[in-house]
């Protein structure tokens, strides 16, 4: 019984959504109800995670844990944003400007840091693995596409070269298509497994 109820709910929900797609005129409203439940539940889960994060950092501060200064910054930033949002409203231009002025440079710098770290890892990759088929193919492909990204070769008016470039530029699409087909097959298989109760992600 303990396992049967979640299974029944999951299977019925999946079937309802699936049938609702085919019979949109008749079951579209019911599917919308189920989807709204999912949206509400995910929003509540987000709130729970937020509360958990807040209490965890407050705990770190009260315990005087090493590095609690970061927790203090996190809690103060949270409270500042929350209070400002309540006071000014989330559509206030000044409030939006403040938030964007903080979050944009931070995230952009983080992305730039990721680029540098990836460059460093590229070197470490060779250092750790040495020369083998994998590393050599990686090096060749990376350098080819970096050079193509410069755009200098495309400017050369030489039709055979352009054809070669065209073929090379089409290679990523071939890989992406293979990936998409694999993802689609995996999604179908997983859907069937959930519908038949073989896969129960809700058990955990």
């Amino acid at each position: 019984m303990k396992k049967a109820v979640p299974l029944i709910v999951a299977v019925l929900s999946a079937l309802l959504v699936m049938v609702g797609i085919f019979f949109r005129e008749d079951l579209g409203g019911w599917v919308s109800v189920v989807l709204n439940w999912a949206i509400v539940l995910s929003s509540v889960a987000l709130l729970v995670v937020l509360a958990r994060l807040l209490f965890m950092h407050i705990g770190y501060i009260t315990m005087g844990r090493q590095g609690f200064i970061y927790s203090l910054v996190a809690v103060l930033a949270f409270l500042f944003t929350l209070i400002a949002g309540f006071l000014f409203g989330v559509e206030n231009p000044t409030f939006l400007k403040w938030i964007a002025g903080i979050i944009r440079p931070l995230e952009t710098a983080l992305l730039g840091l990721v680029a540098i770290v990836m460059a460093s890892l590229g070197i470490k990759f060779f250092y750790e693995r040495g020369w083998n088929a994998l590393t050599i193919s990686f090096a060749i492909s990376a350098m080819v596409f970096l050079i193509l990204g410069l755009g200098f070769l495309q400017a050369i008016d030489f039709p055979p070269l352009q054809r070669v470039i065209h073929v090379i530029e089409g290679l990523p699409m071939i890989g992406a298509r293979g990936l998409l087909i694999g993802v689609a097959l995996g999604a179908i298989l997983m859907g069937v497994r959930v519908l038949t109760g073989v896969e129960r992600p809700y058990d955990d």
Partner: protein, 619 residues
Amino acid sequence: MTDGLSMQKCPKCGKENLAYMTHCVHCGTALEAMFSFDGQIDLPENMPEEDVATLPFILEEMQSAPQLIEDDTTDKDEGNSEAQETDSDTPEWLKRVRKRAQAEEDATGRLTKSLNTMQERLEDDTKSDAESQYQVWLDDLREKAELKKAKQAERLKPSPKDEQGVPEWLRRIRALHPEDEGGEDFFNPDDEWTEEALEELRRKGLGDDYVPLKVLENKEPDEAPEDDEDEPDEPDEPEIEHNIPEDDLDLESTDVPRQEEAQAKPSEKPLSEETGFVIVGDVKLNPDEVFDTQVTEVSPNESDEGLPAIAKRALDADREAILQDLVILRGQHEKVALLKTLLSEEGRPLPGKNEEKVQKKDYSRLIIGLALIIILLLSIIFIPRHSSAKATVSVPQERFSRHLDMIDKDEKLLLVMSYSAASAPELEALAAPVLKQLDSQGLSWQAITLRMDGVWLAESLYQQAKLENHPAPVYVPGGQFAMLDMALNPKSDAEVDAKKAPKEEIPNLEDFDYVLLLTDSSFTVRGWLEQVAPNYPFLSTLAIISQKEAVAIQPYFASGQILAYLTGVGGLKEISLTAGINQSVYHVGLISMVLLLILGFLLRRVSDEQPKTEDGGQA
């Protein structure tokens, strides 16, 4: 039951009670008046305790008094004279007691008899218990003697056949049942197989071919048989591995260092192939023989010398029994070793918890990062920004421009935003010119965002596109669910009116002709194309996506599910190239990455040439 005991009758019910009862057991009437000797003096209640305590001694004195022990034939005259002589010193109550003792049967003697009887019974019980325990002990000894004999048989030479060609199994059987061989040796359970007895047995069995065992053992290694070459000088059998704490092994105190040595070298322990028993020491018998473990003959401790023979035998038997119990499996041995490790490390700080981390002096990443940053900064500062003529125009970009120009002002476009702040500079540079063009064409469009931060990121986008007084995008929570809900359940005008909500906040996809996806995630594009677009075949989809995700949507472009998309520096408009993005710096970044890859490639070649250490690492 009461035969022989003096009884008294209850004055109330007339039934008999024992003489010493203070109350009637039938009716409960107090019998104190009857419980008194004739002439007894009732002691006052406030009598001192010392006087009361002296009563037992008085009784004892009475029992051992010569005048009470002596025969009745004692001369009355003498007694009378003595009595008359002590009359003056003896208290009155003692006189009465003595008189009573002379007149009646000895009351104290009866009490003593009862005590003696009880003591005799107790002794009988103890005696019978001792006999039974002795019997059990004898049985125990017999059983242990059998066990020891079995081990003695096991200690026979491991050679398959002895000098007479008798196989080992037969020698063992003979050793186990010596009484069957001619009936010369009667099996005595208390006997033990000693070295001398075995020597005698061998001498009798081998006759002229008998060679003393000690002579064989003292032979030089080159004179010894081949199968004995590997054996140590001492006839020690491999001892059984065990990890019982020393406190539990007082008898084995002399063997503890050896056991600790054996535990210190677990990798050298031979292992029985069949059972997995761990055997410590040199194995003389093949592991696949009868016994999986060999037992070392435990030499008697020096402390046992002072014990009697029977106690020594019992001690030896107990020792053998302990050794039998010390056979442990390999898994048990590993568990015990783990437990010992845990116990020894209890209370110690966890490694790395409070210890200072050893700083690995590897500055290569720092140098690489700093070099890259410096190169980019220098290129940004010193390379002039100019509107260089773009080398080529990609097919998606060309189609995007064409569709953008074809959009009529009567058509409606829905802008779906879903990107993070990190991707905002790249996407805003691509999207701002597009929005400006749409606004200049007089096109009606509406924006929604699937991320909360899209609300304030849109403000920057609108500023770059110079869009004044345009409504902020509507936040649609739920991501993929929200998109599917929008597709399956479009809000009609009636529903919007019923909910009293602003119409522009609930987009109805049926009202739009174009959808422009502005995102840094290919999953958003996939979700839209797979969940929403099939329900609205008349809806044309365009996309502006970050360069790192553009590859993933190329198949959708190739299949026509996306009409066109913009991405990367190649998709930038001329105005963006002159205003915000320096394409030369982008090129410098790409060249730097190429150089770094080449550097890594070459560094590895140098490291390959370095000699490797024994453990496989680089020297």
